[in-house]
């Protein structure tokens, strides 16, 4: 899949049949209704072997199923989720635009009222699973000039006239994962295509991403684990200077650092999932989990390549693919810089009470 930049159709079929593309779909629509922690573990295990599979599953669930479940009306859910739960239909999340990356509020796609219809014009980029989409959620500005509060979300079927999926991107990694542009050319939607109230789009995608972060953290964790396992296996069997290189302190310390970072990341990811599942606030923790796990992922893949030496650079060893794949985890669904902004915001809000009580004493 990596060599040909194509998601293997047989694998896709297997994912559908095992309902991996609909893990978060509620049981009443035929879905497996996994809790967040179980879902995270699945994404982690898939990513341990293949980042492209991990992200395909993560996006389909966190960016597809979840927003419908969170924000859809009963009628919208009834329209979309049975197909998701029983047939593996994929929903995609059209948020990012060329001018709206980290600044997602800088959306330029417009939604203009025309009689009882909404007319959508614009394009989205870097959309995962674009070519597999049965349903599309897209954000558009319905009230210009008031910033984020003027953005709304819409739900449409792939067959809607005016909608098209554009070119597939050629990427550094995750080559098996479909990343495409989406085009909306005078797409006319009925009033009931809006997801949630008018102007609710920004808040929706913020919440969607807060939760999605856990899945990307899990993906990075899996890639880190996979890279580490390759490294430790190699270090035990590769002999130089008359002994396995695992005998050398420099190599041992690399393994120790990898394993420690992975363990710490795992605690953060699983804890964030647990908080969400138990109905507690989790947004700061999910940002921390994604931030930490993605940087751990890069560190582990990088260190694993170093342990493998020249062999680490060859396509025949998985580790260079993990290295290319995991880099995206620091960028997609909120860059590490955005995660730090989110975390800092929470910290400053949470610490406001602290400072007051200290000055009182």
């Amino acid at each position: 899949m990596d060599t040909h930049s194509d998601f293997n159709p047989a694998l896709y079929e297997m994912l559908r049949q095992r309902q991996l593309l609909s893990l978060l779909c509620p049981a009443e629509y035929g879905g497996p209704a996994y809790d967040t922690l179980s879902y995270a573990v699945v994404v982690e295990e898939l990513s341990r072997i293949c980042g492209s599979t991990g992200i395909t599953v993560a996006a389909a669930n966190s960016l597809g199923v979840a927003p419908i479940d969170m924000f859809g009306s009963p009628e919208q859910k009834q329209r979309v989720l049975p197909g998701v739960g029983t047939q593996g239909h994929v929903v995609v999340f059209g948020l990012t635009e060329p001018e709206a990356g980290s600044d997602a509020a800088g959306t330029k796609t417009t939604g203009v009222r025309d009689g009882d219809k909404w007319v959508i014009n614009g394009s989205k980029c870097f959309i995962t699973n674009g070519h597999f989409a049965e349903w599309i959620i897209c954000t558009a500005v319905t009230q210009p000039g008031i910033g984020a509060r003027g953005i709304s979300s819409f739900l449409l079927h792939k067959s809607t006239p005016g909608f098209s999926v554009g070119k597939k991107e050629k990427k550094l990694g995750l080559r098996g994962s479909d990343t495409s542009t989406l085009h909306f050319d005078n797409v006319r939607l009925p009033a009931d295509a809006m997801l949630g109230p008018d102007g609710n789009g920004f808040r929706q995608f913020m919440q969607t991403l807060d939760a999605g972060r856990i899945s990307i953290g899990a993906m990075a964790l899996g890639l880190a684990q996979g890279a580490y396992e390759i490294a430790v296996k190699y270090a035990r069997q590769r002999v130089q200077f008359g002994r396995p290189i695992a005998d050398f302190q420099a190599i041992q310390f690399k393994l120790a650092d990898m394993a420690t970072q992975i363990e710490a990341s795992r605690h953060l990811v699983y804890h964030a999932a647990f908080l969400k599942d138990s109905g507690q606030p989790y947004a700061r923790q999910s940002a921390m989990a994604k931030l930490h796990a993605s940087e751990t992922g890069r560190f582990c893949a990088d260190t694993a390549i170093q342990v493998l030496g020249g062999y680490g650079l060859l396509a025949e060893n998985r580790v260079e693919r993990h290295w290319r794949d995991v880099k995206l985890c620091e960028i997609g669904e909120g860059t590490s810089e955005i995660q730090r902004i989110v975390i800092a915001r929470h910290l400053l809000r949470e610490s406001a009470g602290l400072l007051e009580s200290e000055t009182e004493a």
Partner: protein, 380 residues
């Protein structure tokens, strides 16, 4: 290697390389990466301009560049196409260097002019079982009358399928360990030499990397470079030179990544302003600059020692470790600054990221360099 410390001649050579690269390499670097090859027309033009004999004395037709000018040229090529830079570096530092420093007058006359003219070369040292532990190599060279018979397998050989000449390290006395290794310069069309298929690599895809097998390959006794048993010393001494080339290559990759990141940060607007105005991004650029300048200083120190014929092995190792690790750090941050676009193949930054990776591994891993450095400082 900072502009204000260069002679006019050094500046001229650097600028000529830069101009050539801008014109003939930069527009095609992405294609070279995609194709996994550099076309012949680039090599022939480079040969004509003297890039394959930069460090060869004029008496053999070379450019006789001083080490500083040479290092600057490698850096310029690396900014444009790191795969092309290593092709020149192997040719000049490892092969021409080995012949120049250890060959007889007849050998220099036989081989150097051809290399200068554009005959490419390769340096076959590494084996599947002998990487960092190069001294444990198992390729053998058995003396038979006026010939040696070579047997064994080499891997990760740069320029393998392009080379007319191959420097091969093989043991003439397998029981003597590294002290039994000898060096040979063999013609690639010698019977019994097999060139493997191209390796599919993470980076430096424009550079040709393959295995070479020797199956009862008979080479004349005159192919031997230096004395029997002197091969390992030759390998190590040339690697100290090669180290500087890799450091320069890493620096070039880092500078290219930095330039791309700075431009993108100035042009990309989010939240109503260029992202360069955000402290997080500005500080990344600052840290990149610090690491690149420090790399340059370490490289400058090592190259000037080499130019003065003083010992420079430890300094070269320091420069290689620092420049290569910095280049990786810089390329990663440069990609991060580009955000999603950095992950797309249409922007060059992901290529810089991939190309930087090998520099902490080949011609002596960072770990091997740290062994060299720590041994040197502990023996003082």
């Amino acid at each position: 290697m900072f502009d204000d410390s260069l002679t006019d001649e050094q500046r001229v050579l650097r600028d000529a390389a830069r101009e050539f690269c801008q014109r003939r390499v930069v527009p095609r670097a992405e294609q070279f990466d995609h194709d996994g090859a550099i076309p012949d027309d680039v090599f022939s033009e480079m040969a004509q301009l003297g890039y394959f004999g930069l460090r060869v004395p004029e008496s053999y037709g070379g450019m006789d560049c001083d080490p500083i000018a040479y290092t600057l040229v490698i850096e310029e090529f690396a900014r444009a196409c790191a795969g092309l830079a290593i092709t020149i570096s192997v040719q000049n530092a490892l092969v021409c260097g080995a012949i120049k420093n250890h060959g007889t007058e007849d050998q220099k006359k036989a081989w150097l002019p051809q290399l200068v003219d554009g005959a490419l070369s390769a340096y076959a040292l590494t084996e599947p079982g002998a990487g960092t532990d190069a001294g444990s190599l198992r390729a053998s060279a058995r003396r038979s009358g006026n010939e040696y018979i070579l047997n064994g397998e080499k891997c990760f050989v740069t320029n393998a399928s392009l080379a007319k000449f191959i420097v091969v390290f093989a043991s003439t006395d397998l029981d003597a360990g590294s002290k039994g290794i000898s060096a040979f310069v063999v013609a690639s069309d010698t019977a019994g030499i097999g060139i493997g298929k191209p390796e599919r690599k993470l980076g430096l895809r424009a550079s040709d990397t393959r295995s070479i097998s020797f199956c009862d390959a008979r080479v004349p006794a005159g192919s031997r470079l230096g004395e029997e048993g002197a091969g390992y010393k030759i390998a190590l001494s040339q690697l100290a030179h090669g180290r500087l080339g890799v450091a320069a290559q890493a620096l070039g990759i880092g500078e290219a990544a930095f330039a791309a990141a700075r431009q993108y940060a100035r042009e990309r607007k989010q939240f109503g302003r260029p992202i360069a105005e955000f402290q997080a991004i500005a500080f990344k650029l600052a840290d990149m600059r610090i690491k690149l300048d420090a790399s340059r200083l370490l490289l400058d120190r090592a190259v000037r020692l080499q130019a003065a014929d003083k010992p420079f092995a430890r300094e070269a190792a320091e420069a290689k470790v620092f420049a290569s690790e910095s280049a990786n750090w810089v390329a990663n941050e440069a990609l991060q600054i580009h955000g999603g676009y950095g992950y797309m193949v249409e922007y060059p930054v992901e290529r810089y990221f991939r190309d930087a990776r090998v520099t902490t591994i080949y011609e002596g891993t960072s770990e091997a360099q740290r062994i060299v450095i720590s041994r040197a400082i502990l023996s003082q």
